[in-house]
């Protein structure tokens, strides 16, 4: 058997006839050549084709699992091949299960305490839940490499740490979860937690702690997701807002522009997320004093929000506020310019000059 010309590590092994067939298929599909009878026979010969029976089809389909979406198994589902050398391993696994169950129990108690408005009990209970879950995750990480279970334990521990307001611990758990090569759905969930944690730091004004988290979230999304995946503009916006809050307008600008471009490409023109992106970019121009560029963006954002949201939606108020502030700044500049001309021509004591002064003062 001849090995296909450039295939390494046995990914595909073909006979010469197979290789010829593959080459022919390629030409027919991609080079759009008409098929001769001879070629058709080469590509499909009913006499040689062993079509799977209905029973075979059903049996094979029963086995079909999506290879792209390995959902986390529950801990109780974990089965291992029993063997003497694995006895210790099984004991460890029992310990992991036990710790996980304790963590769940504590989290349930914390939830009940919150429902019963016993605020002083909530955080300590979540702290206990976190301690147990962290132990379970670390034990699991040390003892074996179950790629599905491990990120789930880290994610759960991070959740408990966030509830207990232990942010550094939450960060550690998220990062460990991300480094354990989780399936893509779990990666997205862990990145969601990273965004949430960054948001907490942002709200507290701790920008230097939020920044590396948002940068990491964006880098991972750009690496692992489709170019126009809906999570990417969210990530770009979050990081842009952070740069803007730190006065780094030049770094924020390309991020807002890219987020707007993706949303305009993938969403309806009147989608509220498009308005959010227009608003972000418009507000940035406003902060940079580029009022001519800011105005059409902020006006368009308002128009979309008024059309797509209900009249008393908070985002409509935000847009009205932003636009009002822009008009106010534009008015201020006009009054200042008028005042300079009037003062030069009429002096300071003319009633008209005083009136203009008054307009400026009351803005």
């Amino acid at each position: 058997m001849k090995k296909f010309s450039a295939i390494e590590n046995n990914a595909l092994t073909l006979t010469e006839a197979d290789e010829k067939e593959l080459c022919l298929s390629h030409d027919i599909f991609l080079l759009a050549r008409p098929l001769t009878e001879e070629e058709e026979r080469l590509l499909y010969d009913p006499a040689k084709d062993k079509i799977p029976s209905l029973a075979q089809v059903r049996k094979r389909l029963e086995r079909y699992q999506s290879p792209f979406s390995k959902k986390p198994k529950t801990l109780t589902d974990i089965t291992l091949t029993p063997a003497d050398e694995h006895e210790q391993f099984l004991k460890t696994l029992d310990s992991v299960k036990e710790l996980h169950l304790k963590a769940k129990e504590m989290a349930q108690l914390a939830f009940i305490a919150r429902m019963e408005e016993q605020a002083d009990k909530v955080k300590p209970l979540y702290k206990q839940a976190f301690d147990y879950e962290r132990q379970a995750a670390m034990l699991s990480a040390d003892s074996h490499e179950d790629e599905i279970e491990l990120p789930m334990l880290f994610k759960s521990a991070a959740n408990f740490a966030l509830e207990a307001e232990r942010y550094e611990a939450a960060k550690e758990m998220i990062e460990l979860g991300l480094s354990s090569e989780p399936p893509i759905e779990m990666t997205e969930e862990l990145l969601g937690l990273l965004d949430y944690l960054a948001d907490i730091y942002y709200e507290k004004g701790e920008y230097s702690k939020a920044q590396p988290l948002l940068e990491k979230a964006l880098a991972i999304r750009e690496e692992k997701l489709e170019e126009d995946h809906w999570d990417i503009p969210n990530s770009l916006n979050n990081l842009g807002l952070l740069y803007q809050a730190q006065g780094e307008y030049d770094r924020a600008h390309p991020l807002f522009e890219k987020a707007l471009a993706i949303r305009e490409k993938t969403l309806d023109e009147e989608h509220p997320d498009v308005a959010t992106s227009l608003n972000n970019l418009g507000s940035l121009y406003q902060k940079q004093g580029k009022y001519d560029k800011a105005q059409p963006l902020l006006e368009k954002a308002l128009a979309i929000r008024e059309n797509s949201l209900y009249a008393e939606h908070l985002d409509v108020a935000t847009s009205l506020n932003n636009l009002g502030f822009l008009y106010q700044e534009q008015a201020k500049r006009l009054f200042e310019k008028a005042l300079i001309i009037l003062q030069n021509r009429l002096g300071n004591n003319q009633p008209y000059v005083k009136l203009t002064h008054n307009h400026l003062y009351h803005l």
Partner: protein, 181 residues
Amino acid sequence: MDARKVQAERRYTSIRYDVYQTVEQKLHFLFKKPIRLTSIDNNALKYWQKIWQPHNHRYPPEGGWDWRNEILRQTLPNRFEVAIWHEEILCGLAMGKPSVGSSHLAIYLMEGSPLKHPLNALVTRIVLEVGMAYALVLGKENLMLVDPLEKMMKVYTKRYGFEFKTARNNPKRFCIIKIER
């Protein structure tokens, strides 16, 4: 037409139907969206012509294939084909062909709607799911994406675990992944 070929056409149509049904169920579970999978039938071709065509400014290999022509040319009974719908909106089309032996199923053409649609960023994933299931049913060992677009390479390799390969003969560039059994 050869009676055996007619019979084969019937059998493979039925196999593809079973594959669509199974994958649809998985997709409902995963994405909670009203996704429908069908062959590239008259409904799909009508939708393509009336709704996609006037807005499609792509050119092969970036998309923009004449799907009516492609489906007419593909007379092999065991061909791979799928039309991906979100309720009554056609969101994606794909075509391919299994090898005569057990080595692979190759996907040659894949295109998402040129219009904004509810399965944005999911069409590739869905085509790969259907491809995997069809390859499994036919007993093929690998799923192959022929002449992958450069801009999609990251998605195929990093997100879905394909390996990128090159060869001296056609197909010169392809991505490949082993079928899990």
